[in-house]
Symmetry: C2
Amino acid sequence: MEKIKNFKLTVSYDGTSFRGWQKLPGTDSETVQGRLEKVASLLSGCETAVNGAGRTDAGVHAIGQVANVRLPGELSCTEIRDYFNRYLPETVRVVSCEEASDRFHARLSAKAKTYEYYFTTGEKPPVFERKYVYRHPSAVDVSKMDDACRLLIGTHDMKGFATAVPKKKSSVRTITGASVSSADGFGLFGHGNAPDVYVIKLTGDGFLYNEVRIIAGTLLEIGSGAMDASNITKALETGDRHFAGFTAPASGLFLAKVYY
Amino acid sequence: MEKIKNFKLTVSYDGTSFRGWQKLPGTDSETVQGRLEKVASLLSGCETAVNGAGRTDAGVHAIGQVANVRLPGELSCTEIRDYFNRYLPETVRVVSCEEASDRFHARLSAKAKTYEYYFTTGEKPPVFERKYVYRHPSAVDVSKMDDACRLLIGTHDMKGFATAVPKKKSSVRTITGASVSSADGFGLFGHGNAPDVYVIKLTGDGFLYNEVRIIAGTLLEIGSGAMDASNITKALETGDRHFAGFTAPASGLFLAKVYY
């Protein structure tokens, strides 16, 4: 019997036309996981699971999603990466492949994740980056948004910032990093090409369903003056979704990095 | 009678789904010029021409196309820019608007233009930049391509590098800058995100139809070893298109800058 090895894949994808990461019955080709599992199964000759670190929602992108997959051990990392890239659509790319310990599981072993949310308040998004930036209709005070981020740091019950709350599982999560700043370096041609673009960065041990997008919406409403920063504290203390802001669109959101 | 002023517009566009810059009978909305003239006419209340510096071909993009347009003098530059951006599709953006002298003509006053051609030879283009990078099927020697660029510098009859040669007009043009290098800084998230991407930069007083794309194709064939660098000299000396390489696809090409 041939030896099976566990491989860690770093994957980037343009989520625009996907129904999200997670495989759905009957729509494998419309999900990133479905696409990856199809190629993995071709490669191994039997049905093969690909476990992702984060279940990104429909329309959400990834710079550095991480997944693990068990494949025949005689394949080299370069062969695996190239095989995936040959058979995946142009919207999904395996950036790197490395051998992992047998116990490594992309989701269960993850210690933290960073999400980035890009937005602009300019009269129009920059053309080459338009699908990856949310255009907020009103002007915002970015430093006010950044200040409000401090209220998010720490361990809290996040259910006030989620759409669907797990019934039997804990909704307590820890946010270790939160900031809003100018998105320097963002843009097809680097710095300066896409002015007026800002980024909300959130790092934490886990995020509930829609949590990052609801936090982004809340910060934008605080920035535009539509909402007071104290709403964050209220939503954290009461767990009441009504204190938080709108759910910002998926298109501006990227799973940037997973930490192990 | 109200005063009319001449305005200089700097325009960026994603050429992917346009039939090029130049207005075509019956397909105004499929050309960049057609789109701009429609908005200019709305703004001025009468049919208004928009003159572009370069007639980019179908599928070719622009970072800094320049155009001039005559509009009622009571409008401010900010009003004009914002009006255009409100009514243009998301693929076209007026980056800036400034008042120009009455004699300024975007094409006739232009002294030089820089075009940039982005390509990769990696197994797959990076996902977020995929529409703006041509993937060449074989590996290339970039420094060999850069060396070959020196043969292009100077004043030459360029008809060997053109698809349609002007019959009564001169096909002599001057290239002042030509280089091939790593496209540092390119990529949605700046340097490092889109590895293995290179850029061909060409600056000259004017380019014939398809000239930049044929030069790009020739350089790529020289880089892959399919063609000798001496072919450039032969094409320049004889004007014979057969010595030059293939016409590289439009998607990698950008009109980067126009000099006055």
